[in-house]
Symmetry: C5
C-alpha cells in the first residue's frame, strides 16, 4: 500500500516519446523527456500525464482537452496533439509493432498533405482514430471468425473441449466488447461538450481566431463514433449468439439425457424381467427332466445358444443406443 | 491490417446509382459516377460516402443531414435526397430485387404527384421510410409465424431437432430485433435535433425561405417512429415468449427426468428384491425335492412359465414407462 | 409485399364510428363515414387515421394532439375528442362489448354533467382513461389470481401440467405488463411536452382564450399515470414472483433428483452385494450336502421363503422411495 | 367491472382521521369526516383523496403538493400536512399499531417544540419520514437476519425445505426492495421539481412571504433520500447474495450428481463383472466335482461365506457412498 | 423500533476526532468533542453529523457541501474539510490502521507543501481521494488474484470445494463492485452540480473572493472519477469472467453427466445381455452332460476362469470410466 501511494510520487521522471513536427516529419524516435519539462512546455498538469505514464494498460479510453493541446489515450495509442506537433508516448511492451508502424506511416503521410482544408490537429486526430478503428475492426473480424467457427462446430457435435474453448473465446469477446464500448464512450463524451469541441481548434486558438462553429470536428468525431458503434453492435450480436447457443446446447444436453435415461429404464425393465424369469427357473429348473439330458451335444449347443442370446440382446440394445447418440450429435 | 488502412484510401472511385429527377422520372439506371464528382456536385464530404460505398451490409442505420441534401442509409436503402433529385445507390448483391422494384415504383409515383402540399424531399423520404417499414413488417410477420409455429410444436413434443431450429430462429430474431431498434434510433436521433429537422427543408432552403416551424416533418417522422416502435415491441414480445418457453421446457425436461428416475429406482428395487430371492433359491433350491421331478411336461411348462413371468414383468414396467412418456409429451 | 404497400393506399375509405355531441347525447351509432371527409372536417392528416383504421390491434398506445382535436388510441379505445364532440371508432371484433357499453354509459353521463368546472374535452378524456384503467385493473386482478393460485399449487406439488399452465400464464402476464407499460408511457409522453398539454385545451382554443397554465390537465394525467404505475408495479411484482418460483422449483427438482440418485445408488450397491453372494453360491452351492435334501416340505418352504425375501427387500426399498417422494412433494 | 367503475363514484363519503392542531395537540382521534367537506376545507381535488381513501394498500409512494397543503402517502402513513394542522388518515386494518403510536408520539413531541427554526410543516414532514425510515430499517434488519441465516445454513447443508423457505424469503425481499425503491423515488421526484419544493413552504405562503430559496427543505429531503438509498443498496446486496448462492448451490448439486453417477457407474460395472462370472459358473459350475461335496459343514460354511461376501461388497460400496455424501454436504 | 427512533435522539453527544490545523500539523489525536459544539462551530446541521456519527459502516458514499466546510464520507474516511483545518472522525473499529496512518502521513505532508498553487482544501481533498483510491486498488488487486486463481483452478478440475470458495469470492466481489460504484457516483454527483463545485472553493469564500470558474476542482475530481471508473470497469470484467465460467462449468458438468450416463447405459445393456444368457443357461445348463464332469481340476479351473472373466469385464469397464473422468477433468 505504501508503494501504491509512493508510486504516485513523481519518481519516474522520464517518458519515452516519438515527436512529429509541424511538417509531419519524425523529429525524435523514442527520445527521453523529463516529465516536468513536458508539463511546463505543453501547459499540462502532472496529473494529466499520470495515466499515460502508467505501465499497466488502460481500460478506460480518454480524450483530455487542455489549454494548448489535447491528450488522446485510446487502446494502443497515447498521444499529445498540439497545433504544430504530435507527441506519441511509447507504451511499455507495446504488443503489435506492425500496427504501430502502419499508424506512424499513415500519420506522417496525413500530416504532410499540403493544401488540406483541415487544420493540422484534426489530420492527426483523424489518423489516430483511424488506427484505433483498424485495430478494433481487425480484432472484431478475428473474434468473429473464432467464435463463429466454434458455434458452428458446437451445433454439429457437443463436446467437452469445445466448451473450454468457448469459455476462452467468450472471455475475450467480453473484454473486446468492453474496450469498444469505452472507445465509443470517450468519443461521445467529447461530442457532448461544446466547450471541449471549441477548445480542440488548436490552430485557430494559436492564431487567436475566435470560433463558434465546430461543425467540421463534430462531423469527424460523429463519423468515427458511428463506425465504432457499428463494431459494438456487431460484438453485441456475436455475444447474443453465444448466449443463445449456450442456452440451446443446454436444452439439447438435457433432452439427450432424458433419451438416455428412457432407454436405460427400458433396459432395466428388461433386466428385471429376465431376473424374474431366472428366479422361477432357479426354483424349479434343474430338477426337472428334459429330453435333452442324454444328448452329447446339448452342452456345447446350450453354451453357444446362451452366448448368442447374450450377444444378440446386447447388440440390439447397443444399436438403439448408438442411434440415439447419432441423433443427439446430428 | 495494411489493407484495412489502404482500403480507406479513395481507390474505389466509382459508384453505381439510379437517379430520379425533379419530375420523378428515372434519369439513369445503375449509372456509374465518380465519387469525387459526386462530392463536389452535392456538397458532400468524402467521409459521408464511406458507408454508402462499403460492400459490407450496414448494421447501424443513419440519416445524415448535409448542406444541400440528406443521406439515408437504412437497411436495404442507401439514398441521397436533394430538393430536385433522388439518387439511389446500388447495394452490392442487393438480395431482394422485388422489394427494390416495388420501392422504385412507389417512389416514382409519389414524386410525380402534382399539387401535393408536401415538398419534393419529404415525398421521397416518405417513400423511403415506407419501404423500410414494409421490409421490417414483412420480416416480422415471417419470423412471427416461424417462431410461433415452433413454440406451439415444442409445447406438444419436446425434441432435439426442434431445439436446433429454435437456435436458428432465435438468432434470426435477435438480429431482426437489433436492426429494427437501430432504425428507430436513427429516426429518433433526427427528431431530437431541431437543427437537423430545419436543415431537412431542402426546397425552402433552395428558395431561400426562412423556416422555424418543422411541424410537418416532425409528424411524418414521428408517425414512422411509432410504427417502427410497434414492430420493435412485437419483436420483443416474441423474444420474451421464446425465453419463457425455453425456461419452462427446461423445467418440464427436469420434471420428466425425475419421473424417469423414480420409475428406474422402482425397477432397481424390484430387481434387487428378485436378486435376493434368487440368492436364497440358489443356496437351497435345486437340492430340494419337489413332486415335479418326475413329471415329463414339467420342464416344458417351467420354461414357458419363466418366459411368461419375464415377459409379464417387463411388459408391466414398460407400460408404466410408456405412460410416463405420454404424459411427458402431452 | 405489394399488398402491404398497396394496403396503405386509401382503399378502405369508410370508418364506422359512434358520435357524441356537445350535450353528451349519442348522435350516431356505428355510422359509416368517409375517411377523407373526416380528415377535412376535423383538420386531420390521413396519416393520423392510419392506426385507428387498421384492423390489427395496436400494441403501442398513443395520444396524438392535433389542431382542433386529439386522438386517443389506447387498448380497446380509439377516440377522437374535440371541443364539442367525441367520435368513438369501432374496433373490428371488439372483444368485450360489456366493457364498451359501461364505458359509453359513463362517458355520456360524464359529458352531461352541468356546471362542471372541467371543460368538455377533459371530461371525455377522464372517462376514456377511467375505462382504460378499469380494463387494466380487471385484467390485473384476473392474472394475479390465476398466477397466484398456480404458484401456490406449485409449492405443494411440482408437476408437469402445471408447468404448461405456467408457460401460458407467464406469456399472458408478459403481454399484459407490456401493454400497461405502453399505456403509462403514452400518458407520460404527453405530460412531458408542454406544447401538447397547452394544445389540449380545445375549448379555450375554440373560444380563442390564451392559456399558459395547464395545471388542471397535468393533475388529471398525473393521477392516471400514478394509477397505471401502480398496476405496472404490481405486474412486475407478480413477474418477479414467477421468476423466483421457477428458480427455486428448479433447485428443488435438482435436489430431489440427487436424493433419488443417492437411493438408487444404495440399491445398486445392494444388488451388487447380492450378486456377489450369488456368484459364490453358484460356484459351490448345489453340490453341497445340507440336511434338508430329504425333507418333503423343504421345497415348498424354500419357494415361499425366497418369495418373502424378494418381497421384503423390495418393500423396504420402495417404502424409502415413497418417503423421499413425499418429502419431495411436501 | 361495473363495480370497479361505480366504486369510483363518491359512494364512500366518510374518512376516518386523526387531527393534530397547530400546537401539536391531538384534537380528534379517528373522527369521521365527510370527503366533500375535506376537499372544500383544504382546497383539494376529490381525485387527490382517491388513493388515500382506497382500502387496498398502496404500492406506489407519493407526495402530492397542493395549494394550501401537501399529501404524503408512503407505506403505512397517509397524511395531509397544512401550515397549522396535520391530518392522519386511518388505514384500514393498519397492521402495526405499535409503529403507529410511536410515530404519533414522536410527531406530537416534534410539533410541540418551541423556538425551532423549522416551520411547522417541515417538523411534521420530518416525523413522517423518520417513521417511514424506521419501518424500512426494521424490516430490513429482519429480512437480513432471516435471509442471512438461511444462506449460511444452505452452505452447510443443501436440502429441500430450505429451498421453500428461500422462496418465501426472496419473495419477501423482492417486495421489500420494491417498496424501498418507490419511497426513494417519491422523495426524489419532489426534490427534482423546484416548484413543488417552493410550494411546500406552507407557513411562508400563509404569511404571504415570497420565497425563492428552498435550501432547508432540500437538505431535509436529501438526507432522507440518502438514508433510503442506503437501505435500497443493502437490500440489493442481499438480493445479489441470494442470487449467487442459488447459482452456486445449483453447481454444487450438479457436481454432486456427477459424483453419484460416477460411483453408480462403478457399481454397475462391478455388477456386470460379477454377472459375467456367474454366467460362466452357471454354465459349468455345478456339474463339476469338488472335494467339498462330501463335507458335512460345507453347506453351512458356503451359506455364511456368500452372506459375508454380499455384506462385505455392499458395505464397501456404501461406505464410499456415505463419504461422497459427507463431502457433498460439508 | 423505539430504540431506532430514540437512537436518533441526540444521546451520543461525543465524537472522537483528529484535527489538523492550517499548517498541516496534527493538533489533536482522537480528542472528544461535543456534537452540538461542532455544529455551532462549523455551521453544520445536526442532521449532517448523523451519518458520520453512526457506528455501522456506510455503504453509500457522500460528499456534502455546506457553508464553510465540506463533509467527505467515503469508505474508511469520514472527514470535515474547512479552509483552515481538517477534522478526521474516528470510525469505530476502523479495520486497517496501517491504511489510516499512511493516509495521515500523506495528508500532513500534502498540507504542509509551501507555495502550492492549490488552496488548502483541495490539497486535503486530493489526499483523501488518493487514500480512497489506494484502498480500492489494493482490494481490487487482492480480489483479482483470488478470483483469477480460482477460475484457473476450476478450468483444470471442477470440484465441490472450489464452488464454495467461488461463492465467497463472488459475494466479496459483488460487495466491492458496489462500493466502487457508489464512490464514483458520489464524485460524479458533485461534478454535476455547478453550485456545489463553486461552494467548495472554501479559501476564496473565506477571503470573500468571487469565483465563477471551477476548472481546477473539476479537473481534480474528473481525474479521480476516471480512475475509479477504471477500477469499476475492471471489477465488472472480473464479474463477467466469473459469470461465463459458471455457465461453461455447468455445461461441462452436463456434458460429462451425459457421457457417464451413456457409458452406464452400455454397461446396463451388457448386464442385461449376460442376464439373458444366464437365464437360458439356468434353464438347461446343469442337467446337460459335458465331458468335464469327471475331471478333477475342472472345478478349480472353472472357479478361476469365472473370477478372471468377472475381473476382466470389470477392468475393461472401469478403464473406460477412468478415461472419461480424465477427459472430463482435463
Amino acid at each position: 500500500l505504501d508503494k501504491v501511494m509512493k508510486g504516485r510520487q513523481p519518481t519516474d521522471l522520464m517518458l519515452r516519446c516519438t515527436v512529429l513536427d509541424s511538417e509531419g516529419n519524425v523529429k525524435t524516435i523514442s527520445g527521453q523527456f523529463k516529465k516536468s519539462d513536458m508539463c511546463t512546455e505543453h501547459g499540462l498538469n502532472p496529473r494529466d500525464l499520470r495515466k499515460i505514464d502508467s505501465r499497466v494498460p488502460n481500460l478506460v479510453a480518454t480524450i483530455l482537452v487542455r489549454e494548448q493541446a489535447f491528450l488522446v489515450n485510446i487502446l494502443h495509442i497515447r498521444a499529445l496533439v498540439k497545433a504544430d506537433c504530435v507527441i506519441l508516448f511509447d507504451t511499455y511492451g507495446s504488443v503489435d509493432s506492425r500496427l504501430h508502424s502502419v499508424f506512424l506511416y499513415h500519420l506522417e503521410h496525413n500530416l504532410k498533405v499540403k493544401g488540406s482544408t483541415s487544420p493540422y490537429e484534426f489530420r492527426a486526430l483523424d489518423s489516430i482514430l483511424l488506427s484505433v478503428l483498424s485495430a478494433l475492426e481487425a480484432e472484431m473480424v478475428f473474434i468473429r471468425n473464432l467464435v463463429g467457427g466454434l458455434l458452428a462446430e458446437l451445433e454439429d457435435d457437443i463436446d467437452h473441449d469445445r466448451f473450454k474453448r468457448l469459455l476462452h473465446y467468450s472471455r475475450r469477446l467480453a473484454s473486446f466488447q468492453n474496450r469498444a464500448k469505452l472507445v465509443q464512450q470517450a468519443i461521445d463524451e467529447v461530442l457532448e461538450q461544446d466547450e471541449d469541441l471549441d477548445a480542440m481548434y488548436l490552430t485557430d486558438k494559436k492564431n487567436q481566431k475566435e470560433r463558434h462553429d465546430h461543425n467540421e470536428l463534430e462531423v469527424l468525431l460523429e463519423s468515427f463514433s458511428k463506425q465504432v458503434e457499428e463494431i459494438v453492435t456487431e460484438a453485441n450480436n456475436i455475444d447474443a449468439n453465444v448466449q443463445s447457443t449456450q442456452e440451446i446446447v443446454e436444452l439439447i444436453l438435457d433432452s439427450n439425457r432424458n433419451s438416455l435415461l428412457a432407454l436405460d429404464l427400458k433396459v432395466s425393465i428388461g433386466t428385471m424381467g429376465i431376473g424374474a424369469g431366472a428366479l422361477v427357473a432357479g426354483l424349479f429348473g434343474m430338477n426337472l427332466k428334459s429330453t435333452l439330458e442324454e444328448s452329447d451335444y446339448a452342452f456345447l449347443g446350450m453354451t453357444i445358444l446362451s452366448a448368442v442370446v447374450a450377444a444378440a440382446v446386447s447388440w440390439a440394445g447397443l444399436r438403439r443406443h448408438v442411434m440415439i447418440s447419432l441423433v443427439a450429435r446430428a
